[in-house]
Every structure is written in C-alpha cells, then in structure tokens.
C-alpha cells in the first residue's frame, strides 16, 4: 500500500506553506522566549524553585506555549491533518477491502475455473473409459469368434480323422474281398480261355466235316447218274441185263462209299456233341461257383457305406466352412469397427489440449496475482471468470460446450443431436 507523504505538504500549502510553518514556529519560539525572559523573574519569585528546576519549568512552559501558539495559529491545518489521517485510514481500509475482495474473487473464480477444467477432464476420462471398454468388448468378441473357429476346425479335423480311420478299416477289409475277387477273376479268365480253346477245337472239327459232306454230295450225284444209266440200259436190252448188273454193282459200290462217309460223319457229330456237352457242364460248374459273387455284393455294400459316410462328412464340412465364413465375416466387421473406435484418441487429444491451454492461462494468472500482491505488478486485467468465456469460444465440440455449461450451472438451450453424417 502506498502512503501519500506529500499530503502534509499539500495541507500546509506545499513547500511555501511548510516554510511559513517553520517561520511561524520560529517566531513563536522567539516570542515565547522573550516572554519567558521578561516573565521569568515573576515566575521565579512566585514559585520559589531552585535554579535548575526553574530553568526546566521555564523551558517546558516555553515549549508548551510555542506548541500551543503554533497549534492555535494552524488549528485549521491540523484539522486537515486529522482529516488526512482519517482519509488515509479509510483509503488503506478500502484498499485492504479491495485486495480482500479481489483475492476472494480470484479464489472464487479459481474454484469455478477448476470446476470447468475438472469437468472437461472428467468427461474426457469417461469418454476414454467408454471407448476402451467398447474396444475391449469387441476384441473379446473377436477372440470368442476366433475360439469358435478353432473349435470348428478342431471338430472338422476330428471328424476327418474318424472318417479316415473308418475308411482305412473298410479298405483293409475290402482288401481281402478284392484279393478273392482278383483270384476269382483270374480263374474266370483261365476257364474262359480253356472254353475258348475247346470251342475252337470244335470249330476245327466242324471244318474237317465239310469235305465229307462234299464227298457225300458228289456221291449222291454220281449215284443219280448211274441210276439213270441203269434205267436206259434196262430199257435197251431185255436179255442184255448184264449191263444192268454192272450198273447195279456200281450202285452198290457207291452206296457202300456213301454209308462209310455217313458213318464217319455220324461219328464226328457224336464227338462234337459230346464235347459240347462237356462245355455245357463246365459252364454250369462255373455258374455254380456263385459264392464269389457274394463278395461283389459285400464290396458293393461296403462302398455304399463309405459313400454314405463321405456324404455325411461332406455335409458336415460344408456346415463348418459356412460357419467359418460367417465367423470370418463377423471378425472382419468387428475389426473394422474397432479401427474406427480408436479415433477416440484424436477426440481426447483435442479436449486435453484445450484443458492444457486453460491451465497455461491459470498459471499465468497466478503469476500476475503473485506480482501484484508483492507490490511489483499491477492488478490482473482480466478475472479468471472472464477467461472462461474465452475458453468457451475456442471449443470445437458440442460436448465441450455442454460440459462447460453444466459445470457452471448454466442451462443452455438444447442444440439437439446434430447428424454425424451430412451430404451436401
């Protein structure tokens, strides 16, 4: 607090007034001294004091008189000093009150200022928590989907293993059937070859019969001619039947040959017929070996069973693949959403930068107050309260303004929920 030391000079009329005051005081002192000089014998005679005491009393009386005289002459001016003292006291009190009020205001503003910044921080923390929880929840979901995928693949692997084991067992069993079938097939082939050989032989035999048949035919022709000749001869001669006898002999000879040929043919036919009978017996025997055909049925049944199992396995695998595709789609979608949700960090960064800006101003303000209280600075131009308005102007997000108003207890008009996406 500054005390105005020039005020007394002003009260007494500046430096001239002070000179006059001093002159007046000197004059009074001289006057009193003169009076004391002349009145001293009367005092000495009246009071009868010792020399030293007499001087002391005289001096005291002179001083008192001088002061009284000066006070009397300058009574109005002293009243001014009194007023000045009162005024100074009032000023000091006013300044004290002002400082107290400013300090009180600053503390009060500080509380409110901190409230606003604190609310912004709290909202930022809540936003962070919400975003992180969201991200964690999605990551948990992705993890679950991945586990399901692993289970599906494991199940598929297990089913495939079972199928392979069953198939291997079936294949092992079928090996025996296949071996039997191979043996059967081989025997069938051999028998067929034998049959073919035999049939070929039969055919050859039949071929050999053909010249005989031709011979018989020739003989038959010649017999006809002879018979005709015999008829002609018989008609020509009565007794000349001798020629007929020759003819008859020739006919007999021819007939004998014919009989011989016919016998041979008959023998051949009999032989062929017998062989055919044998072939028939062999074929029947082959057909009777039907116990091997059961193996075909068994093999067919086993293959059907394998086919059925493969169908079931295929359906199961299709379901698994479909499930895996769906889970993959979900995982990709969740990952895409999570990648979007990490944008909260940028939003948070902007909010915290505004809070930091507020704290920087607060720091500066505290420095100003400190200098002012120390007496080496001026009163801060702006109250903290006024800077809150500046802070609010710098906000970019509606959420920041809402938090600001809520912290100050301001009921702002609802701005409505603006659309997050707008195409022009």
């Amino acid at each position: 607090m500054k005390i105005d030391l020039t005020l007394p000079g002003t009260i007494f009329g500046g430096s001239t007034g002070l000179t006059r005051l001093l002159a007046t005081m000197l004059s009074c002192m001289i006057g009193v001294s003169v009076c004391a000089y002349f009145l001293h014998p009367w005092f000495h005679g009246l009071l009868g004091l010792s020399y030293e005491l007499d001087i002391a009393v005289t001096g005291m009386a002179a001083s008192f008189s001088t002061c009284a005289l000066v006070a009397l002459i300058y009574r109005k001016h002293f009243a001014g000093i009194h007023d000045y003292a009162i005024h100074t006291h009032q000023r000091c009190s006013a300044q004290h009150i002002s400082i107290r009020d400013s300090y009180h205001q600053a503390v009060s503003d500080l509380s409110q200022y901190n409230n606003v910044l604190g609310s912004q921080l709290r909202e930022s923390i809540e936003q962070t928590e919400t975003a992180v929880l969201g991200i964690v929840s999605r990551m948990v979901n992705i993890h679950e989907q991945t586990n399901i995928q692993v289970e599906r693949i494991g199940s598929s692997s297990e089913k495939s293993g079972e199928l392979i084991a069953v198939t291997q067992d079936q294949v092992r069993r079928n090996q025996q059937v296949i071996q039997a079938l191979n043996a059967f097939s081989s025997s069938q082939t051999t028998q067929l070859q034998d049959n073919l050989t035999r049939i070929q032989n039969l055919s050859d035999e039949m071929e050999q019969m053909r010249p005989m048949v031709d011979a018989i035919s020739e003989i038959a022709d010649m017999t006809n001619l002879l018979a005709l000749s015999a008829a002609i001869e018989a008609a020509r001669a009565g007794e000349a039947g001798r020629g007929f006898a020759v003819v008859a002999d020739e006919v007999r000879r021819l007939s004998s040959q014919t009989n011989k040929a016919a016998s041979e043919i008959a023998a051949r036919i009999t032989k062929v017929a017998g062989q055919a009978q044998v072939e028939t017996e062999n074929a029947r025997h082959t057909i009777e070996l039907n116990e091997d055909s059961h193996k075909f049925t068994s093999l067919a049944n086993n293959l059907s069973s394998i086919e059925e199992r493969f169908k079931i396995a295929s359906i199961h695998l299709e379901e698994i693949i479909s499930g895996i595709d769906e889970a993959n789609r979900i995982i990709v979608e969740e990952v895409a959403i999570v990648l979007g949700e990490i944008q909260f960090q940028d939003v948070l960064r902007q909010r915290l930068e505004h809070v930091r800006s507020g704290l920087d101003y607060l720091n500066g303000f505290a420095q100003e107050v400190k200098l002012w209280l120390e007496g080496s600075g001026e009163v801060p131009e702006k109250h903290l309260n006024e800077h809150l308005a500046t802070l609010k102007e710098k906000y970019v997000m509606q959420e920041q303004r809402t938090t600001h108003n809520a912290a100050l207890g301001i009921k702002a008009a609802s701005s409505g929920s603006a659309s997050k996406i707008e195409l022009f």
Binding site: L339, G340, Q343, D346, V396, M397, I421, E422, L423
Partner: protein, 124 residues
Amino acid sequence: MAKTIMVVDDSATMRLSLKSGLELAGFKVECAGDGVLALNQLKSGVKPDLIITDINMPNMGGLEFIKNLRTLPGFRFTPVLALTTESQQEKKDEAKKFGATGWLVKPITGPDLVKVIKQVLPGA
C-alpha cells in the same frame, strides 16, 4: 481396379485408423499430415478418386485446402468429405461453399464411412 482415397489429417492415430479400415474394405489409401503436404502430393501426380480431410490442422486447415484443391486442374469435381470434431455451423457452411461433398463428425466407424463413400463415389 481399386479406388484410391487420400486421407488428410494431422493426427497419426486418425491416419492409421482410416488407412487400415479403408484398406480392409478394399481401397488404396494415400496419407498427408496437413493441407500443404496434401497439395504437394496432388501436384506431384497422386490422383485420388476421393479425399477425406480434417478441418483443424496446422500450416493449412481443411477449409483452405478444399478451396485450393478446387483450383487445381483435374480436381474440380473430386468428391471431398470433411471428417472433423468441429461442430460450428459456420464452418460447415464455409466447407459447403468451398466445394466439400459432405460433413462427417468424428469418430466414425469403418462400415459407416464405407457406406458414405459408396454413396459419393460411383463404382466404389
């Protein structure tokens, strides 16, 4: 052929988020940290089919970038989406005046962004 998208944002997190999400959706992505860098890339031959830009950036903000973009040959009609935390109507009106195609508020999920892109980018 995959469409190319340019992302302009001073936040590394935003560039990472958008690049990853858009590449997952099948787009090719180029990035720039502010309007000046983006303009340099465009002048040097990068030809995106769509641009996504922030508004509040150092050196050159999104509004000024859009304004300058429209003066470049070949980019008068390139779709530009503003993706920002900004909520002031005046900024939105200014973006529209300078030629922005749309206004999106952060944060935006990948599926939502892709849906918007498919609306403004034919053949995406």
